[in-house]
């Protein structure tokens, strides 16, 4: 979870090896993925074998993430054929129709032959989910999967994702700026700010007792549907310039609890309570 520019999407793209190089460059760190080890050490061909098969991705805007000149069915078939070259034509089609049924696409036999522009936004996102599920991945990265959708369609897609996760046993890395979506979907939450994780906690802990001043500010800033709030809390100031980050804590200039040390030493994530990690000098001191 995080706001624009916090680096949540870039993190996800890096895991999938989808950062275009150049201009992008991964300068350090590791991405450990099960038995495959550090993904950053893999060759492009090896990554290709993982993408779509072991890990797949669902993007924010279903309108633009499907290729307009190919049918929905073909684009899902492609994901299967890429990782299973020997599948027969008939099996392929029935598998795609099966997937379409699984993600509740209306009239799946017909829909496989539809071009993306003939489908609604919600249906397109279902096609993307079908594509993501096609090879039974261990990890599904969902990058703001419902941000471009209407409220009622969002609820459908979230429900679907939850149900499929239960059935398939995949892990889901859900990226969102919407605290409601996070609350409904997540088990554990990492809050990001200006390129780093500032807090990591089980979802109920995060909402019941947020620790990082940024998280607290964010929770106070959202209008509530379940009750009236007189005045919204405001985080003063703006995001620091990512080209010229300050020394010490990146949130210091907007923080009401800042200490002297915050100006010079960048805080690291520390487990303050079981399973609840925070990167904040003030929180660490108070405990």
């Amino acid at each position: 979870m995080g706001e624009t520019g916090c680096g949540k999407s870039v993190t996800a793209h890096s895991v999938m090896g989808l950062i275009p190089v150049p201009p992008g460059r991964i300068v350090g760190g590791t991405v450990t993925f099960g038995k495959h080890g550090n993904l950053l050490d893999l060759k492009e061909e090896e990554m290709q074998k993982l993408r779509g098969k072991e890990m797949s991705m669902i993007f924010q805007d279903p309108m633009s993430s499907l290729n307009p000149v190919f049918t929905a069915g073909f684009q899902v078939e492609e994901a299967i054929v890429t990782h299973d070259r020997h599948i027969s034509k008939k099996d392929l089609l029935s598998r795609v129709v099966g997937l379409f049924k699984k993600v509740n696409i209306s009239d799946p036999e017909k829909s496989v032959h539809s071009y993306p522009h003939m489908l609604s936004g919600g249906m397109k996102q279902r096609v993307m989910i079908a594509m993501g599920l096609s090879c039974g991945p261990k990890l599904i990265i969902a990058d703001e999967p419902t941000t471009a959708l209407d409220v009622s369609i969002q609820a459908q897609i979230l429900t679907l994702l939850k149900k499929l996760q239960k059935e398939e046993g995949s892990s889901v890395l859900l990226i969102s700026h919407d605290l409601g979506v996070i609350a409904a979907m997540a088990k554990n939450v990492a809050v990001m700010y200006a390129g780093s994780i500032v807090e990591y906690a089980p979802v109920s802990d995060l909402f019941q007792q947020p620790m990082h001043p940024y998280t607290k500010g964010l929770l106070g800033a959202i209008p509530r549907l379940d009750r009236d709030i007189e005045r919204l809390a405001v985080i003063p100031g703006t995001l620091p310039n990512l080209f010229d980050l300050p020394e010490g804590c990146k949130f210091r200039e907007r923080c009401s609890e800042a200490l002297e040390i915050c100006a010079s030493v960048r805080p690291r994530l520390i487990e303050i309570e079981p399973g609840h990690e925070v990167a904040c000098h003030a929180c660490a001191r108070d405990r």
Partner: protein, 306 residues
């Protein structure tokens, strides 16, 4: 799909009528007596009277226009120079021009699309820069001069290729290269920019994310979309080739409609000039119709909504 084509055909009619009116009016918009323009300064009074009668120049303009239209198709409209129906004069030459332009466009598309795709995929490498410079050179080369240079080298100095006329396939080589050069450059630039555009799209990331190789991502997902705007440019370029033929044919003495047009202008054979203009424009418009259809084949969004 048929309805789509039919609708486009209907839309052509006003354009074609407009084209014929413009071609017809050109002679009348110029200051001075049209008969004098046809006859030239050396024409006698008797000649002028004869010309006025033959083309109905003393009758109201709308009447003249319909005489012109009718004469074009019935063969009543005669070339002043050849004294035979204009269509009979133009048609065989138009066929020669179309043959030349077709060979040229094939060359231009092959070179242009390949260069454009390579330069987009290898953006900011020496390959991209070389392709860019050559494309811009091609666009900037005066056709007639480029023709003269090639002729000088391959016909005059090396004597490998004929310097003019038509007949054997060898005769096609120089004129079609010369004619297609600029188009190849323009197609290359267009393909490059539309390819770069497409490569930025989200569905390209999707294709990569499902595990496709770079080759399939570019060759299947990107190329198909990038060709959509390129096809339009190819259609427009075909028109440029028909027009460019005026110069190329003059350089290589190609017996086509372009050369006919120039010699007819110099000989003040206006019926031939006007009819040639109408026919070339009509062909151009038809090619663009074909492009629209191809466009719809490539782009399902057009197919269902167009």
């Amino acid at each position: 799909m048929l309805r789509f084509i039919f609708r486009r055909l209907l839309l052509l009619i006003p354009v074609l009528i407009g084209v014929s009116i413009v071609a017809f009016l050109i002679l009348h918009l110029a200051p001075g007596d049209p008969a004098q323009m046809m006859g030239g300064i050396e024409a006698s009074e008797a000649d002028l009277i004869m010309l006025r009668q033959k083309f109905g120049l003393d009758r109201p303009l709308p009447v003249q226009y319909f005489m012109f239209l009718k004469g074009m198709f019935t063969g009543e409209l005669l070339s002043l120079r050849y004294e035979s129906p204009v269509m009979e004069v133009i048609w065989p030459r138009l066929k020669n021009t179309l043959a030349l332009a077709s060979v040229s466009i094939v060359i231009a598309v092959l070179i242009g699309v390949t260069a454009g795709v390579l330069s987009a995929v290898k953006r900011k490498t020496w390959m991209d820069y070389t392709a860019t410079v050559f494309a811009l050179l091609g666009i900037s080369m005066p056709v007639f001069w480029w023709g003269l240079l090639l002729m000088l080298l391959f016909s005059v100095k090396l004597m490998w290729l004929p310097s003019g006329g038509m007949g054997t396939p060898l005769h096609y080589i120089l004129p079609s290269i010369v004619l297609g050069t600029a188009s190849a450059g323009i197609i290359a630039r267009m393909t490059r920019s539309s390819m770069l555009d497409v490569l930025r799209q989200d569905y390209i990331t999707t294709a990569t994310a499902k595990g496709l190789s770079r080759r399939l991502v570019v060759g299947r997902h990107a190329l198909r979309n990038a060709m959509i705007p390129t096809v339009t440019v190819v259609g427009l370029q075909f028109g440029q080739l028909l027009a460019g033929a005026v110069l190329t044919e003059t350089v290589f003495s190609w017996p086509g409609v372009g050369r006919l047009l120039v010699t007819s202008i110099l000989a003040r054979d206006y019926p031939v000039v006007q009819t040639s203009l109408v026919l070339i424009a009509a062909f151009f418009v038809l090619v663009n119709l074909a492009v629209d259809v191809l466009y719809a084949v490539l782009d399902p969004r057009v197919r269902y909504h167009g």
